[in-house]
Amino acid sequence: MNLKTKEIEIVLSKKEIVKKVSIQVKENEFVGLLGPNGSGKTTLLKSIYRVLKPQAGLVLLDGEDMSKMSYRDTARRLGVVSQFTNMSFDFSVEEVVLMGRAPHKRALSQDTAEDFRIVEDALRTVDMLDFRNRSFQTLSGGEKQRILLARTLAQQVQLLVLDEPTNHLDIKYQIQIMDVVKSLGIGVLAALHDLNLTLMYCTYVYVLKDGKIVADGHPEDIITSELIKEVYEVDCEVVRHPATGKLYVVYFSKAQG
């Protein structure tokens, strides 16, 4: 599955948030979307998963204009884990994950044993099977985040859009979630804040600033101390770790001189 945006433009309250952005997620690619707060990452993602309508531009899924597809069709191919918003009604963890099956169901079709098996597998994958009977409301932020990933796994999609999926998570689950997503072997587009995680997992990155793509390419080529200085206004050094052979970023703070 291949995702493309063509010159997306989004204006919110008369302010141009996203300016002619064209990006691409090829088959099985793990694409990172970097950029400081307010650079338009979330807004761009929202237009991709159809919560916002772009003023101009196209989103193409396998070459097909997504705005002409039914929402159900979109939901069967593209799954989303977005930044968590409060729910005003309570469900059990299992019920929430079961709703990931909704796009595959007709109005009157019943849940089958197969659906329950998929739900169970999804919960096991995110290490939350013991929580299946708990009320969703009583979970911590990180646990909720993992349940929402499980719901998306139950959706069995071929492309994932993630908006800061590691938000609220401790380091163990940051790595676990990224591992889970990576192991699915499907196309991923993820807005990320952590440059080290980006270097670890992404095969391609786009860097967004003030609604425009300022750089794109393989993370090892793109993430440099100059770019980070320019985009995030932070001093740092990008070094290669002797044991892993991977690049990582060390930040310098003004307070420590």
Partner: protein
């Protein structure tokens, strides 16, 4: 390997809930049968059921004298039975509309009246009673009664609320809808009060009040037809929508990413529930609290899943209103209490109990 539903806790809950629903259907039928026997005139059970049985199946049991005519026949067949059925129908309508409205605007405090229906109906009814259609209009409109104006008022108010919530562009959010509902409610309230104040007629004021609080007193077989059909159509339609209603509860964004065309279905649900509620209101006045409270009580023991919530709320609403109407009939001798007084008086303490009981959080965050 394929398992069975029983292998899974949710699967077992599914099966269990089917029995609970069957139990509630039994309770509803039992309530109808019992409520027909209760009233200011004491009629033995035996006679009540002889009359009903004869009317339904034409099987004669015992003395055929009273079966097809006379006072007992009148009371049982033409007054009490339609009244009990009307209470059931209105209860089901309001409870279902409450469930759907809470999901549609994603607000646990929503009820069927939240889009300004009750205030619009009040305005229409007050106009009809205090001023009268015939003093303003001529021709066909002059012949129209309170029910017609209440219906018109409901739909007018709802249309205005929907229009208001689309002002300023952008997506229609639940917050906008609720706010627009309050705006229209306060506007309609102002006009209603002005008419009552200027009209200053004690008798008319009493009938306005009586109407606003709701009553089943006017129920007859011919008046049962329209709400009955609406109830059946409404329940059947929403039973096909349970999956979509569930995803709506997860939030606007989640609903879209799970494949729901949110803006389309929200409009469909709002228009449909508004029509159903307007029918209920113009038949029996504004029966408060049922549409808000019943869904919350049922969520307390069945959870938020609409596959159980919707049918159980419908049945519970019907049962609840039947008994509220019985109390309204028999509590004071020779006087009818408006049914809205009963539902609110019973509903308030139940709500308090559920607030105190920590296991149910009213949709909000549990402490």
């Amino acid at each position: 390997m394929r398992g069975t539903l029983m292998d899974n806790r949710l699967g077992r809950k599914h099966i269990l809930m089917h029995f609970v629903i069957l139990g509630f259907i039994g309770l509803l039928i039992l309530s109808i049968l019992l409520a027909v026997c209760i009233g200011s005139v004491k009629i033995p059970f035996y006679d009540v059921y002889r009359i009903v049985l004869y009317q339904v199946t034409h099987i004669e049991v015992g003395d055929p004298e009273i079966l097809g005519g006379g006072t007992l026949y009148e009371i049982v067949w033409n007054v009490r039975l339609p009244r009990v059925l009307m209470a059931a129908v209105i209860g089901i309508l309001l409870a279902v509309c409450g469930v759907v409205m809470q999901a549609t605007v994603q607000n646990p405090l929503a009820d069927p009246y939240i889009l300004g229906i009750s205030s619009g109906a009040s305005l229409g009814a007050t106009f009809s009673i205090m001023i009268g259609a015939s003093t303003v209009f001529t021709g066909v409109l002059a012949e129209t009664g309170t029910a017609f104006w209440a219906f018109l008022g409901s739909l007018g108010a709802t249309a205005l609320v929907m229009l208001l919530s689309t002002l300023g562009g952008g997506r229609v959010t639940s917050a906008k809808l609720v706010l627009a509902g309050s705006v229209i409610a306060s506007l309609c309230g102002a006009f209603t009060n002005m008419m009552v104040y200027i009209g200053n007629d004690a008798d008319n004021m009493k009938s306005v009040t009586y109407w606003l609080l709701g009553s089943m007193v006017s129920a007859r077989w011919n008046k049962l037809l329209l709400p009955g059909i609406c109830m059946i159509v409404g329940v059947v339609f929403f039973l096909t929508q349970m999956r979509t209603l569930n995803t709506l509860l997860l939030g606007e964004e989640a609903a879209i990413t799970l494949g729901v065309n949110l803006s389309l279905w929200r409009k469909v649900y709002m228009i449909f529930t508004s029509l159903l509620t307007a029918i209920a209101v113009c038949t029996c006045g504004i029966v408060g609290f049922v549409g808000l409270m019943v869904p919350h009580i049922v969520r307390g023991f069945a959870g938020s899943d609409h596959r159980y919530l919707l049918p159980l709320s419908a049945l519970f609403g019907g049962i609840f209103l039947i008994w509220a109407d019985v109390v309204a009939r028999v509590l004071l001798e020779n006087t009818e209490i408006p049914i809205g007084v009963i539902t609110s008086a019973v509903g308030a303490p139940i709500f308090v109990y559920m607030m105190v009981k920590k296991s149910y959080g009213f949709g909000g965050q549990n402490p």
